[in-house]
C-alpha cells in the first residue's frame, strides 16, 4: 500500500499558486472567472477577503493545477495579506486601463506583496501586469506607458478584456508558466541535497507548499 501511495504522490500535478492583486473594481474577479468558468457577468459582488478558483492545465506536456487566489482590492484589507501572499509562485498585478489611479497604485501593491509575501527571490520573482477593460473607449493608460513601467523590474505586460474575452487565457497561461518556473526553482533551491540521497524531488516539492 505504501508504494502505491508514494507512486500516486509522485504523479500528482504541481500546484501553482497565482495571486491576483490590484485596486478595487479593476476586474480581478471577472478576469479569473472568465479564465476558469468562461463566463462574464455585470452582476459581480464585491470580493470580501478572498476568493478561490482552480484549473488544470498542461504546460510543456506537464500537468499542473493552477490555484488562483483572488483578493479584495481595498487598502484596508492589505494588512491581512501576509498569510495569504506567502507561497505564491506568480503575482498578477491588475489595473484598469481607463483609470490612471489604478495603474499608479500598482507600485504600492507590488511593494506590499514583496514585503508581506516574503518571496526568496524578490529581485527575480515573476510578476505579470495586466491592463483590463480594453473594451472600454475612454482609455487613460497607454500600452507604451504600462510597458515602460513593467520593464523597470522585469514584469511581463498583457492587456485584454474579461468582458470581451480578449487575451484572458493567454495571460493566465503565461502567469502559470512563469509560476511553474518559480516552483521548480524554489523546489531545487530547497531540496537540492534531498535529490542526491533520495530521488523524490516532486514529493519534497509538495511539502514546500506549506
Amino acid at each position: 500500500m505504501d508504494t502505491s501511495v508514494s507512486l500516486i504522490q509522485e504523479k500528482e500535478p504541481a500546484i501553482i499558486k497565482i495571486i491576483i492583486i490590484g485596486n478595487s473594481g479593476v476586474g480581478k474577479s471577472s478576469f479569473m472567472n472568465r479564465y476558469v468558468n468562461h463566463r462574464f457577468t455585470n452582476l459581480y459582488r464585491a470580493t470580501i477577503g478572498m476568493d478561490f478558483l482552480s484549473k488544470s492545465e498542461t504546460l510543456d506536456g506537464e500537468s499542473v493545477t493552477v490555484q488562483i487566489w483572488d483578493t479584495a482590492g481595498t487598502e484596508r484589507f492589505q494588512s491581512l495579506g501576509s498569510p495569504l501572499y506567502r507561497g505564491t509562485h506568480c503575482c498578477m498585478l491588475v489595473f484598469d486601463v481607463t483609470s490612471k489611479i489604478s495603474f499608479s497604485a500598482l507600485e504600492q501593491w507590488r511593494k506590499e506583496f514583496l514585503i508581506q509575501g516574503e518571496p526568496k527571490n524578490p529581485d527575480t520573482f515573476p510578476f505579470v501586469v495586466l491592463g483590463n477593460k480594453t473594451d472600454l473607449p475612454d482609455r487613460e493608460v497607454s500600452s507604451r506607458r504600462a510597458r515602460q513601467w513593467c520593464e523597470r523590474f522585469g514584469a511581463e505586460y498583457f492587456e485584454g478584456s474579461a468582458k470581451d474575452d480578449i487575451d484572458v487565457e493567454k495571460t493566465f497561461l503565461r502567469a502559470a508558466h512563469m509560476g511553474l518556473q518559480q516552483y521548480k526553482k524554489h523546489t531545487l533551491e530547497n531540496t537540492g541535497h534531498f535529490q542526491i540521497t533520495c530521488k523524490q524531488p516532486r514529493e519534497t516539492g509538495n511539502n514546500c507548499q506549506c
Partner: protein, 461 residues
Amino acid sequence: MICASLPHLSHVFVFRSPFAHRVKDMRPVEQKDPGWKLFGKVPPREGPMKDPKKIQKEYETKSSRAGASNPTSPRQSVRKNLNFEPLSTTALILEDRPANLPAKPAEEAQKHRQQYEEMVAQAKKRELKEAQKRRKQLEDRCKLEESIGSAAQTWNQEILPNWSSMCTSRRVRDLWWQGIPPSVRGKVWSLAVGNELNITHELFNICLSRAKEKWSSSPAPVPENDAGSSDRESSLELIKLDISRTFPQLCIFQQGGPYHDVLHSILGAYTCYRPDVGYVQGMSFIAAVLILNLDTADAFIAFANLLNKPCQMAFFRVDHSLMLTYFAAFEVFFEENLPKLFAHFKKNNLTPDIYLIDWIFTLYSKSLPLDLACRVWDVFCRDGEEFLFRTALGLLRLYQDVLTSMDFIHMAQFLTRLPDLIPSEQFFQHIASVHMSSRNRKWAQVLHTDALQQGTSVRRH
C-alpha cells in the same frame, strides 16, 4: 424497457416522448439512405422530428381500427378510473397484434392483460403517492404561512408591547429561534440591537447633509503619486463602486434602483458619523439587509449600533491582532466540536481567515441565501457575536463529509462559494448541535483568555 418485456403494447406518451431517439436508432435498418443525410446538407432535425409523428399517426389509425374490432380494449376503462391527468406510464395502452399478424393465443393474451393491469396499477399507485406528496407540500406551506401569521400576531400583540420584560423569557427565545416573521423582523432587530449610541433621527439627518455637502463639492482629482495611500479619502468612490456590487441580482440597490439612494445615504452618513472608521467593504451588505427591513433613519441607527459591537469594531477597523484572537477562539470550539474536520483543515493549512473574513464582515448576507441570512441575523440579534461563530461551525458541521474528501483549494472554493440551496431546517439543526462550551468555558471566557495571552483587549459587551 417495458416495451421489450411486453410485446404489442404501444405507447402513447402524453408528456416528453423518447420516441425520437427510438426512431433514430431504428432508422439505419428501415431507411438507410435518408439516415446518412443526417450528416449531409439536410437539416438534421427535419428527419427525426417528422418521423415519430408519422409513425404515431399510423399507429393511431391502426389501433382505432383494431379497437373497433375489439370492444374489450381496456383503454376507455383505464381512462375512466383516472381522476387525475395521467402521466406517461398510465397512458400505456394494451393493444392486440396488428391485423397483418396472427392473433395471440388466448393464454398469452390473458397473461399480457394481467401484466398490463399490474403495471398500470403500480403506476397509478405511484402517481397517487406523488399527488399525496404534492398535497402534503401544499398543506405544509399553508401551515407554515399560518404559523408565520400567528407568530406575527404573537410578536405584535404580546411580545413587542412588553419587550423589556419578555425578551429574555424562554418562550420568546424559542419563538425567536424559529425565525422572526418578516413583518416584525425590523422592529425586533432594532430593539435587540438597541441604541447605546443614542443616535436620533436628527443626528442622522445632520450626518447625511454633511455627506451630501461633501459629494456635491466634487472631489478634486487625486494626485497620482498619492493614489492608493488615501483609502479613507476615497471612501466616497469606493461606496459608489460597492453599491453597484451589493446584491446585484436583486436589482434594487443599483443605479436607478429604488434603494440605491437610501444605501448611498446610509453609508455616506456613516463615514461622516465615524470618519475614523470610514467605509469598509462588507458594510454595504449589512446596510442593505437593514434597509430591506427598516426605514432609512432606523436602518442607520441599527447600522451604527451594530457596527459598534466589539466583534464588528474589531473586524471593520481591521484590527489584525484582535481578529486573530477571534479566529483562535473559534478554533478552540472548532476542534472541540469537529475534531476530525479540524485535523483535516490543519493538515491542509486551511486557516479560518480564508472563510471567516467573508462570513463575519458581511454577517453571512453575501454567502448565504438572503432568507437564511436573515434567520442567522435573527439569532445573532438574540445571542450576539458568539452566534456568528456558532453559525460557522454549523455550516462546517453540515458539510463535514463533503469537506473531508476535499483538498485545500476545493475546500477554499467551497467555503467561499457555498451551495445555492442550503436545507434551512437541517442547517439550523446543525447549528443547534454545536456546543459553545469548551472545558466548561463559554465563548466569552475563551475569547478573553486568548486576548489576555496575546496582550490584546476585547471590549466587553
